[in-house]
Structure formats: C-alpha cells, structure tokens
Symmetry: D2
Subunit: 343 residues, 4 copies
C-alpha cells in the first residue's frame, strides 16, 4: 500500500490526555499502530518527553508545545489532536513555519453530533421527551390533544449557525425532509455555502426566518454570546433551537427566560458550566430537552479518531498528505476558544 | 382545470364522525369544497341520510353502508374515509361491483408518522428522553459516561415490518444514514420490496439481523400477536423497537418482559388499550419511550386529508381517477382490523 | 409465501402478440410460471382461445376482448398487458364491472426510459453526439472552442410534461443536479405534483420557463399536437427538448422548423411514422439527436415484464391485490391512443 | 462581511496565461476584484513583473516562480492557479516555507466534468451517438433490434479510478442509479474512500469487477500507462470506459486494439496528442465516443474560477483561510505531470 520514507519505523509519541488512550485506540487499532510505528506513550509533563522529542516523527495528543519544543522537534512531521479542540498551548506559527501538519479529530464527531442534533430537533418538533415525561406522570394526552404545538420538520425553514464538520454532516440528513436551509458562517464566503446548497444569510435574517435553528458554531475569539437576548428575540414564536456547538455562543440567562416564557423550545447539549449546578433552573424548564454533553462522545467516534490518526500517520510516512483529519490553518488555529469536555 | 361531468354541482354527503369536520376541513378548504359541490353535513344515523343518499355523488366519512344503502345510492361514485382505517361497516363487494371508489386517507399520515418514527429511533439509539429524565433528576452523566450503550443509526441494520404508506415515507429519511434495510410484508411480492431498494427478508431472519426494527404493520385478520415472545427473542440484545403501526401486532406482555430485563428498548406509540391504564407497568419501565398515539394526529395531517378529499372529488367529477387518496382493494378491504383512535 | 385460493393450478392463457413470448418470459421465469399455473399459449385469433376462455383465471397479453368474450370468461381475474399500451380492443367497462384486474406493464419501461432520457438531455446539453460526429469528420474543436452554447444541467430549469411512470423514475435521477422542476399533467391535481416535489405549472408557463423539457406524455384522446408551433415558440432560445413519450403529442413539422432555425435542439426517440421515411428531413438536422424508438426496449425491461406478470398472478391467486403492474382505471383506459411499437 | 487587514488595497498581479483573463473574470467579477484590490495585469515574462513582485499580496495565474522570485515576493500570501494544473514551474517548497497559499481551480471543473462523464457513460450504455450516426446513415434499427448489447446503468458495477474533485462530484450523480461503486486512489487511505461510501478496491480487482469504469486520475510521476494492455484485458467483455482524467494514464494503442476488437467501448475526452492527428485510427472506431477535451471547458466553469479567486483573496485579506480553491500540498504539488489544455 505504501512505503515508508525512512529506514526505521518512525517514532510516534502518544500523549492523548485528557483522552484515554484505550478509548481512542481499541486493541486492534493499537496493534496496527504499534506494529508500523515506534510508539512511545509519554505524557507531555514527563521529563522523558523532551528527551524523545528530537527524534519524534509525530505526536499524538496535544501536550504543551511552545516554540522551544517545536524547535527541538527537528524530525516532527505531524501533531494529531485526539480530543477535538485546537487549544492555545501550541505555537502554531512555529509549526506551520516548519511544515509540521497540525491535525484535529473533529471529523470523527461529525456524524454522531449530526444524528443527535436531528434527534433533538425531532424531539422538539413533536415533544417526544416531554410526552414520555407526561406519560410517566399519568398525564399523557392522546392523539391530537397531545399534539398541540407539534409540527413537522418537512418543508420547515431551517437555519444552521456554523457550517463546519457537523453542519456538513447534518445537511444530508435534513435533505429528505425537503427543508429550506439558510446558513450563517462568518468564516466562509457566501458562495461556499451556496455550493453546499445552503442559502447564505445574514444572522438577523436567518434567525427571523427559521423555525428550527441548529447552533453548531465552535467558540472563537469573536463569538461569545453571539446569541444574546436581542438575537434570540428575533426568532419566530415557538421556534426550536438545538444547541450542539459550544455553550459560549449563547447567553444562557436570556435563553432560559425565553424558554420559561414559552416563546422558544430548546435542546441543550452544551452548558456554560459542566457539570451543571444541581439547582440550575434549566432542570425545571418544560420547554427544554436536557442533555449532558453527549452528542459526540460515542464509542464509535473514539474509535474513528484512532483510525484517522493511523491512516494519516501512514499517509505522511508514505510521503502523502494527510487525508482524514482536519488540518489546522495558520489563520484560525489561534482563534478557537473551546475547552476540553470534562470527563 | 376540469369540467364537471354533470350539470348541477354533485352532491356530497359529509359524515366524518369520529373525525371532527373542522379539523379535516379548515375554513379555506371547506370554502373550496362547498363552492364546487353541493355539500350536506349529515350523520349516518340521521334519517335524512337515507333520504339524501340516492342523489349522492360522494360520501365523505365512513358511516354504515350495508348492501341496501349501497344499492340505494344509485349515483354514488366515491366514499372518502377521513379517519384512516377501512372499517368492516361497509359492504365493499357491493361498492366494487358498482364501480364506487372507496378511498382512504392513509397517505396523509405517512409523513408525520415517518418523521415521528425516526425521532423515536434516534431517541432509542442515543437515550434522548432517558437522558432528559436523568438530568431533571440531577443524575445526568456527562460525555462517554452518559453514552453507555448508545449507538449510531449510521450503517445500522434496519428492519421494516410493513411497507405501506409509512414504510415508504420512512425509507427516504433513513437512506442518508447509509443503513441496510430489510423488509417483511406478507402482502407484497419480494420484488416489490426490492424495487424500493429494500431487501425482502423472512420475518425470523429480519428479526435476527436487525438492531433497529420499525413495526409499521396495520392490524389484519392474520397478524394478531405476530411479534410474540418467541419472535421478540430473536432480536439481537439491545435491539431497538419502534412500534408505530398497530398494537395488536405485538404481544405486549412479552415485550414488557424483555424490556424490563434490559434486553430490548422500545418506543411505543400504540397500545392494546387506550387510554393506557393508570397502573400499567409500562409507565415505570426505563427502557421504554412512551407516546400516546401521537405519531399521526397532526394539524397538518388533518388538513392534508381535507385537501386530498377535495382533490379526488374534483378528479372524479372531471372524469379522472382519484390521484391522492389510497384506493381500497377488493382483496384487502375486508381484512383490516384496525380501530379508530380514541379522541 | 402464499396459498392458492383454488384447488387446481389456475389456468393462464398466454397470448403476448406482438410481444414475443420468449422475450418477456426468459427460461427461468417461464419455468416458474408454468410450474405454478396451468399455462396455455394460444393466440386470440385461434379458435381454441374461445374454448379455453371460460376456465381462464388470467390472460397474459391483450387479444381482442369484446363484451361477449369478457362475459364468457366466467373465472377471469386478470388481464396482463405485456406490450405497454392499453389498447381499445378490450371492453374495459365489462372487465371492471366483473372485478377483473386489467394490468399494464408500463412500470417495467420506466427506468430504461428515464435513464435514456437523462442521457439524451446530457447529450443535448453538451453536444456529445454532435461532437462525436464532428470528430469523425475531422472537424472537432477543442476545449472552449468546442463548447459554444454548451450548458450544465446543474441548477437548470427543467419542465416535465407528464408525470406518470417515466416522469417519476426520472425525478430521482435529476435531483442531484439541483434542478428546479416544473411539471404539467392534466390528469393529476396540482398537489399530486407538489407531493413529488414538482412545481405544478400551467403548460404555457412551463414552456416559457424551462431550458430542458422532457415530453413524457402518453398519447390520449385530447393531446394530439399539444406542442404545436405556437407552444414550441414559447420555449426559450436554445432550449433542449427530449421527446420520449409519444410522437402524436408534438407537431413534428413545427419542431423541425424551429430546430432547423437553430432556435431549439431536440432529442427524438418517437416518430409520427416508424420506420422514419428515408428522406425525412430529420436525418439531416444538426440540432437533433436521432433515436429509433429505443428508450424502453431493453432486455432487462422485457424480463421485468415477465417477472411482474408472475408476481401479480401469484398475488391474485393468493387472494391479494396485484402489486407490481399498473392498474388500468375505469376513467382512463378508454382514453389512451398509443399504438404498439413496430418490431 | 470582512475587514481588510492592511490599510491600502492589497496588490494582486494578474498573469492568467494561457487562460484568457476575460474568460475567467467576466465583467462583473472583474469589477468586484478591481474595486477591492489593487489589480495589475502583468505577464510573468514582462520585466515589470519583477518590479511589482515585492509588494504583491497575491498572484493570479501561474507564471514561473523559482526560489528567487518567491524570495523577492516578501508580502506574498497566495498564488491562484486559474488554469487547472499545478505545474512544475513553481518552487513549491519555497512557497510553503513562507506560508504562501498555493491554490488551484480544480473544483471549478468538477461539476462540468462529472455531468459530462455521466453523459458519456449513458451514451456508452445505450449507444446514443452510435444510434444517431446510424440514423443519419439511414441504417437505424428500431426498438429491441437497435438495442443489442445495450444495458442499464441501474445497479451496475461501477469503478472509479481517482477520487479527487471529479470523482466526488460524480458520486451524487451516480447514487440514484443504485450502482455499486468501487474506487481506487493510491493517494488516499481506504477508509477515506469508505467515508464516501465507495468500496476501496485494488486496481486489478476493480477492473475485473466493473462494467463501467471512469478514469478520472490526474497524471502523476507514477501513473503513466497505468492502464496498459494487461490491465485493460482485466475488464469484463463489453465493459464501458469513460476517459475523462488525463490521457497519459492509458496506453492508447492497447485501448484502440481492444475497442476495435469489439471487446470494450470507450468514451475519450483526453488524448495523448491534441489536436488528434487527422489520420488517427480513433476517428474510425465504432466503439468509441470521441470528444475533444471538452469536459470541463464551460463558460460557467471559467466564471466559477474567477469567483473562487475573488472569494479566496477576500478570505485571505480578511485573515481567514481560503475556502473555495484547492490547496496545493507540500507532498503532492511536485508530483503532478499534467499539461495545460491547448486552446
């Protein structure tokens, strides 16, 4: 399939914290990795890390990598983040200047999050979890009496905030519903959205026009509380909001207020503080579907991360570009403001 | 658009019970219907019904229509059921012998039920309502800790029991998940399933192979408790069952037992007795998603029924065949055993 | 799979003329048919036909069946046309009054014709056969010089005249091109088109708006020369016309004139007279793609016909409705004016 | 929409040769470009080019850019190839070391080539251009007599050689045919193909199994005559080959031989020498569809190139990564061996 470009197996330092190594590399994937590469598990805080760094072909994980370490890693070709977020603990400019691939595992989460987001939207459309709750309380209402306010997704006006990996994985799941899809993504030119058959739309117009809104944006240096009280007020009455990107994008106090007032319904998978405080009002709001940061964290996603890493290390060792992980860009890598998921 | 085949507006008797007339015919649809036809609202039990019958072009609703009434209805061209089930209170043979179209509104429910069924499947796949319940109880678990047993729908083995209106509406919603779809429908030849890109499969094999099973079958003279304890035992451990057809098809005691044992999870929208008794064990089973016969009963579905009736009455009055409602067949009309939804 | 409703094998009279029996029933299909039914090959003109008729369960083919013959066929349950057109040589009213299924094999041609129609449209869009012709004449032009007037199908305005079997098979092939689809079908209510995600459009508006028009209509008592000079003049300059329904729908003289003038391009598979006269001007028009009634007549289509017949005879013998062939309707059966393809 | 990161308009040198500037930048696109950037049209051979280079923000076109020029271009952020091929006249390593984006316009050709490739495949499947040719010669055969050897694309075994831009644009067009898609691309790991729902397959196995093969590979340092006589011999009898990548990949003498023998049919859009010599045997082979490098060179594609350039220059000027053009990679840029299309 490929030939290694160096005579001995390339050295790979594995430092996946806070991800558990066994989660990302199930036994069979690990066996392949260790048979093809000289794999060493060593935490970034371990003194041996700096000893091993000069001969390292790749780093799996995202330990602190300031300029000095990047400079010392003379053979380094790739850094493979296996947690999901590009963190500010790496000197990206130094990496790019050296031609080191900085790779993220975001694509592995796209399908799980997209399926979950669709499930949440259908729950909000039809009141699935609310109906289950009523039923368990002996208060269910049958047929049309139980469907007051319920709506179809078919031919709905859908807005996507963010058209990265998740948005792109969600699009094909939405298409058979015949929805009209508007999109907003300040990091993409309008024609990039049009090429995805998404109508590029200004934020205000998107919010005003959409009865289902999927908030899939990552947290950046620019978008804290992008959805504040005023923006949320633009949404049509009884709009449904699926929050599956990052909590920082939304003003939660404003969201709770509008949900409590019955104006909006929302499914929330990401929270300003996790774990959510025991007395958080969200736990009592009927108009919410509550989810504990579970959209992406599936066995299959973790395994996919390990496979991606293996695939792309093979590519690079064979003199080919990485083909499965997401490449960090010089322009954006410093602008993410996500935090690792607590575990 | 069309020309009436009779000189005066054709007479239409509207007897929609147990459906409410206003639900099926919102004002605008009703205005169209009454402007184009000589519409009379008259219950089948009203003595005027038999007076009006001889001049009736169509009956909307499904009042008792024994042979004598069918014989008396000398101008009758169509009977439009607006409730959803072909009931045994009509002499179908007499209708077919006379060339009367017997039409059902099943297609109006297909999209709502299909969307709901997909929502239930995604809930079962990921534990959406169970997660919401835990969260409200302060017992949520985050990220992978909350996802034990969760699974993707992507590339899953899906089995469809019944490939009528709902199954066909569900197929396009399932396709982007890349699932393998097996189907079982004893009223269809295998190649009819293959033409839908569904693998025709024997019941036992389908159950053994499918991790998601959608039970979409109507109740018939032949399929009571088709899914009994033995059949349910064929399902793989942790299979997900969406019950959105008719309750009579399933042995509920057996289902509860296997759900209680943690072997299966199920979403149930139809029940042997409705309303479900207050002390029914289902209300306490963690592995169930409980739903009160809400899959089809949406405003939009009711409106669609009225529109279908209007469209097909126009077709028939114009000398064209009905094009939107489902035609009852000589062979199957007597074999349905569904009951109207309680309201 | 099913149980026969009669004690001895039901008798099937096979009179497929002008279709050849071996074409429709390849050996393996024939073996199944003859093992399950009491099959007799007998032409409608053969005196034995009338002898055998009273005991016949089904007739395969469409021999003359006036009222007297239908009356004599006391056990008749189905007539299976295997050629493709409902001809006026059957007393349809007598059949329907008796509850005899009159079935057509149109669906077997839908996929071949739809694929061919798309191929013709792409040829017209890009000048594939014209380019091949120029190349063989040593007059090819390369790259953009050869693409003057060429256009994409992507996002084009597409009009479908006729939304029967072929139109419905063509729709999924067109969808990934992101086209806007308008449709016109006087036998269907507008909402039936909308349910197919086709915009119901008046004929004039459709012609004015569409750069690709697929003429898929069958010939009826009402649509001779529906596309006359005036209608063709509504098409935008350089519109592409795919004629894959019936020739009678189009005024060919008018079509030739506008093609010769360079205003339209057309792909023609059906002709007013077949074979086309040797000196027909069509043979010299650069703007035409010429095809000899080849859209449907594929081995696989013929085989599919035999399979459909077998499937539906099994259905009916088992007390089930036919599920694969097209049911003739009381209203439309007398209104078709198609002629068999010459062979 | 964005803010320029520099105070004065960034300087853009436009040197599109051999592409014509007006083709790539229609008036409206050019007006936008020149209003937002300090645009100078200057050929790479023009002495002013080197004078202007030090202040250039971007170069549109691919003039010779050896290390000295790259070094002199101190403000350079992007090189936008508008012809379609990464040529060896650029010191890619120097560019990457400097963080200069090297961008290609390949994606603009993907849809035109994919539509054309499908059109060619349908032509080969059904003999559209051959049928037109016979018709013009008065030798057409009707219905099944004209369809000997014709086949459906539906459910066919399709092989894709190369899964770059074109292959990915072709996949959605193929899906509604229900084909089985095998793929071979030595620059991608098998799971990258699987993620596209393509079965990764070795070259020999792919050739042996596929009745339709699309050769979409670019020319590289490794794949000259990849499809030689032996490989072509692996194809099933009567396989159809669409050659829409680069001619260098195929041994044309071997291809002609197998086409002449009636074993294969092929549609050829790219040729070892262009223009093709007047006496090339290809011009006489019945089993070929001949096309003069016309798959991509559409007005709409050229316009799309200009739009991509504009979009990505805006992105980069706004401190964002390019989002529409294809990024050259350090690994592959030196390995392409394509030549510009003659014009």
């Amino acid at each position: 399939m490929y030939t290694l470009s160096v005579s001995s197996p390339p050295r790979v330092l594995v430092a996946p914290y806070p991800q558990r190594r066994q989660l990302v590399f199930p036994d069979d994937v690990w066996a392949e990795l260790t048979s093809e590469f000289d794999v060493l598990e060593v935490d970034g805080a371990d003194p041996r890390f700096d000893e091993l760094l000069p001969g390292a072909f790749a780093i799996v994980g995202q330990p602190d990598l300031p300029a000095a370490r990047v400079g010392a890693a003379r053979e380094l070709r790739a850094i493979c983040n296996v947690e999901g977020n590009f963190l500010p603990n790496v000197d990206y400019a130094a990496c790019f200047g050296r031609g080191v691939h900085v790779l993220g595992c975001g694509p592995a989460y796209a399908q799980p999050v997209a399926e979950y987001a669709l499930g949440l939207a259908l729950d909000l459309a039809r009141g699935i979890s609310a109906g289950d709750r009523a039923f368990r309380a002996g208060a269910e209402r049958y047929a049309e009496a139980g469907n007051v306010g319920a709506t179809l997704l078919q031919r709905a006006d859908v807005g996507l905030l963010g058209l990265g990996n998740v948005g792109r994985a969600l699009l094909p799941l939405l298409r058979p519903f015949g929805v009209r899809v508007r999109g907003y993504d300040p990091w993409l030119p309008p024609r990039a959205l049009a090429a995805l058959d998404v109508e590029p739309t200004g934020l205000d117009e998107l919010l005003s026009a959409s009865t289902f809104v999927f908030v899939l944006a990552t947290a950046t240096t620019e978008n804290a509380h992008l959805l504040d009280a005023d923006k949320l007020a633009l949404l049509p009455d009884r709009a449904r909001l699926v929050l599956a990107g990052r909590a920082a994008v939304v003003d939660f106090a404003a969201l709770y207020e509008q949900v409590a007032a019955g104006r909006l319904r929302a499914a929330v998978d990401v929270w300003p503080t996790e774990p959510v405080p025991p007395d958080d009002v969200a736990r009592t709001l009927d108009g919410l579907v509550l989810s504990a940061h579970r959209a992406g964290a599936l066995d299959t996603a973790f395994r996919a991360i390990g496979e991606m890493v293996l695939d792309d290390l093979r590519q690079i060792a064979a003199g080919l570009p990485p083909a499965r992980m997401q490449q960090a860009t010089r322009e954006l890598a410093p602008r993410y403001r996500n935090k690792p998921v607590i575990r």
